[in-house]
Symmetry: C3
Subunit: 264 residues, 3 copies
């Protein structure tokens, strides 16, 4: 039988030995687990960024993969830690909005609050529940434990507000939701909304106009600002061989407009 | 049977293909090994930093894990490379103090100096013993070779000085031993020494006073200097959402004082 | 049977979730694959740098390892993606010169152009062929598919120019081919050309002279510019505990001269 897959998403930073500690705890309980780093470069305590990464990346994993997300600014307070089944995947995370981008596409079919310390490490620290609670629970889930043993069912997950694009006659007004490691601006405007603009459009962000929506990076020349549909199916603004974040001087939350223009 | 686990700790830097080369050599000899990166972000040639990481992180791994540490400023000189059994774990490292923090807690039960080239790669470079000696030996240890085949027994490992906290009437004087990737200052003062200070204390470092020892990061507000017990059980000084290293302008070796004060 | 090994080399940057997405796609098709990151720190779109890394690092892996390289500035254009057998290893990459350093040592014994979408992901994006074509093909190759099912044979791979060192009476004129993550300058001068210079030599680069070729880093003192034979068997210029790139202010392509001098 194939090894269970467990992914890890944290804001510990690359090279943090705390990531390795979580892996050691997992392998101590589930020696045949296949461990994959989703990313440890979540900006510190940026729940919204991590929620985007989880929504975009985890669906590419095999069914029954266990995804552990430790972006946990409230560790040590009364926030709860939950296990959630969303589609064919299982998630272990603090209930602070980390799964709120995922549940827009498909609601959780099961939510359990982790309350039974029998499945945790024996001695609980107040600062590292990733190691003491989430890692051991992920190992047991990968090995097939019934989540209902871990604690009581819950009805809801904490939600964050995810702005939706506004479509009007001849224009879409959207938002930069997150910025990837290349400095590309990832918006909340999905490709299907762009179909009516195929004959000609201008994309505006940070006070700069970009004419047309390119099919690929190779359609543009170095240093040019480009609008294109990224690999997650959303409109992106990129600078070929550069950083759109720097060139346009914008942050997550910035407004993005798409307007139809006649072909000239 | 579960795959043997091998961890790697180096100062090669993240993204170094030399790390991958060591993994290729290991997998060529031990194809079922599970490889885990402990960290490759050890500051270049910082043996003391790596020794702290090894002491804190390796004990979370399954028994019989093989931990390879390549922080080796003296590669190509007459320094020896050793295999050591410390507790239930096995280590492969140059004998330059890398294991000296580990052996404070438990002495090595077996030390072998690697001298038999039959277990190394056939052609030895003068600059990369991680690849040519340590990786192949780690693979064979993971596969269960008797360490005594690898060379002669040794009685001692090289030791480094690890300053101990000094406890006097109403005060502890300790030292910043290392600084983590968040800029948190990790001291040599264990939590158990802090019990008598529970009623009220001031922690002083870098000329700044911090009142009280917080239970978690969430007890303090953004940007505030905080003293707390970290996940390794030692007193840490942190800046919430910031870097204590920068805010206090101190380096490893700085003095830390804890004084009792009356509750007011 | 041992798991097939698949390595990944990209310019996505460390912490990119796109790397994890490729791993998810691979593990969905080949659940027992062992995944190894070669490096994701290739400078953006630097095909030559990646070609050097592939030539140096992939030969250390077990026979039949599948190496996937996604440095793909022309994604979405008509460039082809190929599978190549070179020595005992298998490569999946865009045909843009990524394998041209490897094929100098040994020509490809088989080249297949990927044209049959039956072996790709069902929906093809225009920006991420690493996920949609290369990852699924790598998974199938690791599981033993006959490469000839994937598309038609090709005779040639795209070649890049790799300058050769020029040897004259008493001197070698070479080139800095690439620069590693330590800032060490890696040249195209192999160790065997240096044998006649053993009695005394001066290495010149960036207007600076370095006397002698050191056996190891430990032969020199901190901050000193050093010429030595690196672990890949090529002459390197390094600054002990520093960056030769910064100290000498040179880039890839810079000239390097070795001249014989009498011992004095």
């Amino acid at each position: 039988m194939a090894s269970p897959v467990i992914t890890l998403t944290t804001d510990f930073g690359v090279g943090s030995p705390y990531v390795a500690v979580m892996k050691g705890v997992i392998l101590s309980l589930s020696p045949s687990a296949t461990l994959v780093d989703l990313t440890h470069q979540v900006p510190p305590q940026d729940i919204r960024y991590a929620a985007m990464v989880l929504a975009d990346a985890t669906r590419w994993f095999p069914p029954a993969t266990v995804h552990v997300a430790v972006v946990d600014p409230d560790v040590g307070t009364e926030r709860s830690i939950i296990v959630a089944r969303i589609g064919p995947q299982t998630y272990v995370a603090p209930d602070n909005g980390l799964l709120s981008r995922l549940t827009r596409a498909a609601p959780a079919s099961l939510i359990v609050e982790l309350t039974d310390p029998a499945y945790w490490r024996p001695h609980l620290s107040s600062t590292f529940h990733g190691r003491d609670i989430m890692a051991p629970v992920a190992a047991r889930l990968a090995d097939g434990i019934d989540p209902l043993l871990l604690g009581p069912r819950r009805d809801n997950l904490m939600q964050l507000d995810w702005p939706e694009p506004i479509v009007s006659q001849g224009a879409i007004t959207g938002t930069v939701l997150t910025i990837d490691s290349f400095g590309n601006l990832i918006t909340n405007i999905p490709a299907e909304l762009l179909v009516p603009f195929a004959r000609g459009s201008v994309v505006t962000c940070g006070g700069r106009d970009v004419r047309g929506i390119a099919r690929t990076y190779a359609d543009r020349t170095m240093g040019q600002i480009t609008a294109l549909v990224g690999s997650n199916g959303m409109l992106e603004i990129a600078v070929v061989n550069g950083s759109a974040r720097q060139t346009l001087n914008v942050a997550a939350g910035a407004e993005v407009q798409v307007r139809a223009v006649g072909e000239t």
